[in-house]
């Protein structure tokens, strides 16, 4: 993975000093609460329901075992021994003390980590495919491009106070695993006969209050122009994006207002001045960064390990885990492993300090000392020998890291919700728990098959509910927690925004509604159909009808609230 040189380290050390000074001036009364807010947010520090929350950057989801051990140590010393992985592949600590945050950043800097731009109206952590570098369907490793973007976006002087947050994701595989069209800018790496590697650029996507998929602004841009072209987009956005209304300030609103063609003309006109300037990236720089991501020292192994195959044949529980949590690898004899952070009863994406140490050990023993955080809030060991899978499974299982539910109904993407987040309208973790309780039979989960269920506690949509087959959104009505259900959303190459099925449901109804939706699928599916396939074939109506069938009886005492609640 990328290792800092002297200058990278110096910049991060200076950031720690700057932040320490800011907190010091705040505590001394020289920097008001309002003046500190944007500054601390650009260092990942929120003031939450119970106190501060610190969001630590994990650039494009890559971590070394050493870094994860440091996170475990920090969570023990400064927090409550638990971290939460987010859909931007970052980690949140929910219980730090404000006064201790400079010390935490100092600790992070000692392992080449930071919390730079994990919040605020600036360019956020770049995200990508968790299988970068090992995916069989990959054109090229996206991580050098992500690192190039990380450096370019870090403390960019012109774009530190944008109208609103700005998210960029990169995909380099046939299958998009980075939800690039749900980003302000989505980059898809492509190869062109004449120009070599370049990017297709999507702009104006985003979830939140107004979910919109990004549109193509450039079908192909040679990679050397990547940064100057992004500067042109960002400059147009910085100058003309709305600043009068928080909810209309994302670039997607500007793109919608102008139309993609007019927006493109503005960007191209700006880029005409920047093209071929000093920000043009020479091949040597791509090579320099790519040298930080060499393929690990994979052994030459047979494509199928006989011992592994025999264990799969002999042990159903292991076979189920392999089926759901082990993924193909471009190198014969190797596999990528997802360690599920979606065990029943656990808050999705939470990882304890003990689990962090276990994962660090697993990474070191079995996967060249590195791991990845997924935007689905799990952890990946990318380079495990097939013959080691059984041992990895046994160790992971002892620490509740081997729930065989990846891609199934209980592999829920879920924000921290109203239990912790000050922005949330409703809690999300108890809904995830309730779904887990309702669907506690693994065999039934396998029978239901591939499906995505995502939960966001508010319109900010951190839980990506818009792009889930079943999305759940917390809404606050009369100080009660209600949930709006969308269906038909999906990630990947055919990314789709889900549609709201109707009036929202009370918390206690949600598991029943999920059950109703699932039963329509199970009854109506053709052989091999996933939930989304069935839905697309038969349409929304049968699902909607079942979800609301018998609702008056279920609602019981809540009936009298209905008109107000759904107003």
């Amino acid at each position: 993975m990328y290792r800092y040189d002297r200058i990278d380290q110096q910049i991060i050390d200076e950031r720690v000093a700057q932040y320490r000074d800011q907190i010091g001036r705040h505590l001394a009364g020289d920097l008001s609460t309002d003046e500190l807010r944007p500054l601390r947010l650009q260092n990942g520090l929120y003031i939450q329901r119970h106190g501060p929350m610190l969001r630590i950057a994990i650039p494009y989801g890559m971590l070394s075992a050493t870094q994860l051990r440091k996170l475990a140590e920090i969570s023990q010393r400064y927090d409550r021994g638990v971290g939460h992985f987010t859909t931007r592949q970052n980690m949140q600590l929910n219980w730090p003390q404000l006064e201790q945050t400079p010390a935490i950043l100092g600790e992070l800097a000692s392992v080449e980590m930071h919390a730079v731009q994990t919040s605020g109206n600036c360019i956020r952590n770049i995200t990508t495919d968790q299988f970068a570098g090992v995916a069989p369907d990959e054109l090229t490793d996206p991580r050098p491009y992500c690192e190039l973007l990380r450096q370019w976006s870090t403390f960019h002087p012109e774009f530190a106070f944008l109208p609103r947050k700005f998210k960029i994701a990169v995909n380099a595989a046939t299958t998009d695993r980075a939800v690039i069209r749900a980003h302000d800018i989505g980059l898809e790496l492509l190869r062109d006969e004449r120009d070599g590697i370049g990017v297709r650029i999507f702009v104006g996507g985003g979830l939140g209050r107004t979910p919109i998929l990004g549109q193509v602004i450039r079908e192909f841009l040679p990679r050397r122009h990547l940064l100057s072209y992004l500067e042109a987009i960002l400059r147009v956005y910085n100058r003309y994006g709305r600043r009068d209304n928080l909810y209309k300030a994302r670039i997607k609103i500007l793109v919608q207002a102008l139309g993609i063609d007019a927006f493109r003309r503005q960007v191209e006109a700006e880029w005409a001045h920047l093209q071929d300037g000093p920000t043009t990236v020479p091949d040597e720089e791509f090579a320099r960064i790519a040298a930080h991501f060499p393929p690990p020292a994979w052994e030459t192994l047979p494509a199928v390990d006989e011992l592994h195959a025999a264990r799969v044949a002999a042990d159903l529980a292991f076979a189920n885990w392999v089926r759901r949590c082990v993924h193909p690898h471009r190198t014969p004899g190797y596999a990528a492993v997802t360690l599920s952070l979606k065990a029943p009863g656990a808050a999705p994406g939470d990882i304890s300090d003990t689990q962090m140490l276990v994962v660090a050990d697993l990474a070191e023993r079995f996967s060249f000392g590195e791991l990845r955080v997924t935007h689905e809030q799990n952890v990946v060991l990318a380079d495990v020998r097939q013959r080691d899978l059984h041992e990895v499974w046994q160790i992971a299982r002892r620490h509740r890291l081997a729930t065989a539910n990846i891609g199934l109904l209980t592999d829920i993407i879920c924000c921290p919700g109203g239990d912790l987040c000050a922005l949330a309208n409703a809690r999300s973790v108890p809904i995830a728990d309730a779904v887990n309780e309702k669907f506690d039979d693994l065999d039934y989960l396998y029978d239901i098959g591939d499906i995505s269920l995502n939960i966001s506690g508010c319109m900010n949509s951190c839980g990506h509910h818009h792009v889930a087959n079943i999305g759940i959104l917390g809404v606050d009505k009369n100080d009660e927690e209600w949930y709006q259900i969308t269906i038909g959303g999906q990630q990947g190459n055919s990314a789709t925004i889900g549609k709201v099925i109707g009036p929202s449901f009370h918390a206690h109804e949600v598991p029943l509604v999920i059950e109703a939706l699932i039963s329509v699928h199970v009854e109506q599916r053709l052989p091999g159909e996933r939930f989304i396939d069935t839905l697309q074939r038969i349409g929304v109506e049968p699902f909607k009808a079942r979800a609301y069938a018998g609702r008056d009886r279920r609602r019981g005492a809540r009936q009298e609230n209905r008109e107000v609640v759904n107003a």
């Binding site: 700057q18 870090t154 300037g277 020479p282």
Partner: protein, 173 residues
């Protein structure tokens, strides 16, 4: 006399920032004597009159006013102010870069408005070289904000080569 930061130093300064009050018309408002930064609307309405005054002309751009409006005339100004109505309004950074890099303005660019310690480094990188730090803030303390970082990744007005070009030059040297 008010103090500002110019380049790296705290200096006394006599430029006034003149704003149109409600009901004032750019065409008819009386202009104060002495060196003054005029609103863009006044400059556009009374260009010839302003150029005939004894004082060197100055103008200021609000955050929703682009430097395009000054493009032809940049070189005439001793000082161009860029207003930051709130420090979180980042449009002025783009305006400053455009003045320097596209219109090749070489005079003083002065940040006015909600100008605070922690933005000075970014402003400097974008070509702003004078800073009217908000009057209620400690200008001596703010001076340190200019030097928050000793190195930067991107090309900007202060450093025409991005770090990757300088790194490559160093490696091949």
């Amino acid at each position: 006399m008010p103090r500002i930061i110019r380049k790296q130093e705290i200096v006394e300064d006599s430029w006034q920032v003149f704003s149109l009050a409600a009901g004032d018309s750019a065409e008819t408002v009386a202009l104060p004597a002495g060196p003054v930064l005029l609103p863009l609307a006044v400059w556009l309405a009374r260009r010839d009159e302003v150029l005939q005054r004894d004082e060197p002309p100055g103008v200021w751009l609000d955050s929703d006013e682009g430097p395009e409006a000054l493009a032809e005339d940049c070189a005439r100004f001793a000082v161009i102010g860029i207003n930051f109505p709130r420090f979180t309004d980042g449009r002025g950074y783009s305006s400053a870069r455009l003045l320097r890099e596209r219109y090749h303005y070489t005079g003083e660019i002065r940040a006015i408005g909600d100008v605070l310690h922690d933005q000075l480094f970014l402003m400097r990188r974008c070509g702003i070289d004078a800073y009217a730090v908000r009057a209620d803030k400690d200008i001596e303390q703010a001076l340190a904000g200019l030097r928050a970082f000793s190195e930067s990744y991107q090309a900007a007005t202060d450093q025409p080569l991005p770090l990757f070009r300088r790194r490559l030059a160093e490696h091949s040297a």
